[in-house]
Symmetry: C2
Subunit: 424 residues, 2 copies
């Protein structure tokens, strides 16, 4: 039996989940794997009453974790960025192995933390998509493949809000409020609904899928604040569901990396991942189209991913012998080169000729139209909505046409623009 002594930083829900798994399944797992996980120290600014630390020492200073010669693995579950990064750095420098669930630290400081010497001593499965072992899959079972496309529902808050808007006919604001009441959104939800959280995760997936550096700044990011209930209804009429997704596309070595709301065909499995669930769809050149779904957050699901990282360390006491990948030759595609179909909703004064004006602008930009719906206003006003689904068009062409359409005198409130993504 191998014993792995761990020190945990933080005593929040994930740390408590990890203690629960050790308590409930630790003996069984040790029997199955020959690896026993023992919690020897827990550090947190304050010990909450009622949490059973299973005999572990308690410290109020997280530095006690890497200074403790007993500790084999430091498990960083504090969240935040700077303090967590410093802890991980200190732990690695003192020769410890580290497991973290912290996507922001890896997305923003991964290049510094993961170098030749440390890369086999730092694991972060729980940082992306909770219980879904997407990092393990990208580094293991999917390695025989060149990844063609990856589309992930990797923010449970956005997916909850969009699902509630559709299924319960709620406005964005009401759905957000409901998500907050149920604990699926923070009091300040901007990190999630503006797409930052998903972009952190996509930064990590991009780096692992294509062996490129972590570069959060290069990810195109849009959130879901501009999605209206009627967009969800119109998209539904056209056969699509709106999801907030992180997307990687590999076109012969040219990589797109973007986070935004997207119309997904309803018959595709990804469109049927509902509420707070996460999912990652991957197309490999050999494996074909795969989907992995599960809880993207939560105490026990996240702790389950942390525990899996610990077992990996436990079954591999010398550290992995993986050699260095050569520098990757992939290059990132600038957003204005991305070529996808678009859904446009144009709020217009319902005057004769406006449809002709709009379609003329698209035609002059050589943008083909796949479908059009015209919707009269539900109130007594003269407003109407023109909904257009285009063929694939390069982003810079589309945005120029949208500006031109938006400047028509009959158009009010600008143009709602949502891209379309299909697993293909």
């Amino acid at each position: 039996m191998k014993e792995l002594k761990i020190g945990i930083a933080g005593l929040g829900v994930v740390a408590q989940g990890l203690l629960d798994i050790v308590r409930n399944n630790g003996a069984l797992i040790a029997e199955r794997t020959g690896v026993s996980i023992n919690v020897v120290r827990v550090a947190s600014r304050s010990k909450r009453p009622g949490i059973d630390l299973m005999g572990a020492e308690f410290s109020e200073s997280i530095d006690d974790l890497w200074k403790d010669s007993q500790v084999d693995v430091v498990v960083e579950l504090m969240g935040g960025v700077d303090v967590a990064k410093n802890l991980i750095n200190s732990a690695l420098a003192s020769g410890k192995r580290v497991v973290t669930a912290n996507k922001a630290v890896i997305a923003l400081h991964g290049n510094e933390l993961l170098n030749e010497e440390t890369k086999n001593r730092l694991k972060f499965e729980a940082s992306v998509a909770g219980a879904i072992p997407i990092i393990n899959l990208l580094q293991g079972s999917l390695v025989p493949n060149q990844i063609r496309q990856l589309v992930g529902i990797i923010n449970g808050t956005c997916n909850y809000i969009l699902t509630a808007m559709e299924q319960q006919s709620l406005s964005f604001e009401s759905a957000l409020q409901k998500a907050q009441e149920l604990g699926f959104a923070e009091a300040d939800p901007s990190f999630d609904i503006d797409g930052i959280d998903a972009a952190h995760k996509l930064t990590i997936l991009l780096s692992l899928a294509f062996d490129v550096p972590f570069d959060f700044q290069k990810i195109f990011v849009e959130g879901i604040r501009s999605i209206a209930a009627k967009d969800i209804i119109y998209a539904g009429e056209l056969g699509y569901r709106i999801k907030h997704v992180g997307i990687l596309r590999n076109d012969g070595g040219r990589i797109e990396a973007r986070v935004h709301p997207a119309l997904i065909p309803k018959e595709q499995l990804l469109a049927n991942v509902l509420f707070e669930q996460n999912a990652v769809s991957v197309i490999g050149d050999a494996s074909g189209s795969m989907l992995f779904s599960g809880p993207g957050a939560g105490s026990l699901p996240t702790a389950s991913a942390v525990f899996a990282d610990l077992l990996d360390f436990g079954s591999d006491s010398q550290g992995s012998s993986k050699e260095k990948a050569n520098p990757s030759t992939f290059e990132l595609v600038a957003m204005d080169q991305v070529c996808v179909p678009h859904y446009l909703r144009i709020n217009v004064l319902d005057k004769p000729g406006i449809m002709a004006d709009v379609t003329k602008i698209l035609s002059e930009s050589e943008i083909s139209i796949e479908a059009v719906i015209q919707k009269e206003s539900e109130d007594e006003s003269d407003n109407a909505s023109i909904v257009i689904l285009t063929d694939s068009v390069e982003e810079h062409v589309m945005q120029k046409a949208i500006l031109t359409i938006g400047s028509l005198p009959e158009v009010s409130d600008g143009v709602v623009d949502i891209r379309l993504e299909s697993m293909s």
Copy 2:
């Protein structure tokens, strides 16, 4: 760079897919992982013209593979049972490592092939669900969990037929014929549509999920021959889709293992896995409900799984250091103890009182009714269908009631009985 020299038995579609991956992605994978996979020998009864063996030696005798001192890993891709088993045995006895895609060999002879001495030298990821790395997941990322429930669409032929019956309003026979034309069903389809293939795979999943011996005989098996187009329609009206699934359920250490058609709630992701796609849903006590879907067969997807096994060997040249799991304390539940809801379709002569007779029999057996639909015959006959959805009921109680109902003079053609399964 580590070199792994492999010898391939068989030159069918999977072997050709493996050669394709080595040819197309081999160099890239070697750069990424530091493991180079080289095919040094291929053995097959006859070399088909036009297949590029990439410089490998060719033998007509598969025994040349384990006799070749150059070969590190024998890859068994012949199919069949006895000859494949003997090859695997000989290769293991001569100290080689072995990868196989052969579910029948593992399900029927796994206990003999995998002993203390050999278990780290035999891998079989491709034997279940093609490209879906369910074996790797059960032995890795899911280990922190006690598995509560596993429901898998693990036979692409059945899923193709049932999907085509629904989406294209086909009879079972027409859908089967279509599957045969498209290459999704064999000329003799009985192995797939009678559930044997799925039961082989479930035997493997059962053993890995619960550390019990491989015991194909203990799996309850039903195929899809008795599913009529109208069952698919009526199930749809009740909110369900009929899928052929392999099921494991763990009720406090008592394990159910069964293969049969089942009504799955339409809103669950598993019900939306269509045509030849496979998927495995797993509920772990920590991870929560997960789903993994992808191609369950085919040249490149299956070869991708084989290649992943090879890379596992390549990155672990000493053989895994996994210790022996203790004998498991799980016990299998006899089928007549299984307790689930049932869908019944009863073909009756439409006479007054027949509904009362049927419901009285159920009531006397203390079987509660969730829903009833009565359907008149579409022809001019006096026949009608009574469709009943019951509450959960023990199998032996249900089967006794079905016999009693079937013996009513107004009932013709027996009673169609399909169980209901929900990820819960």
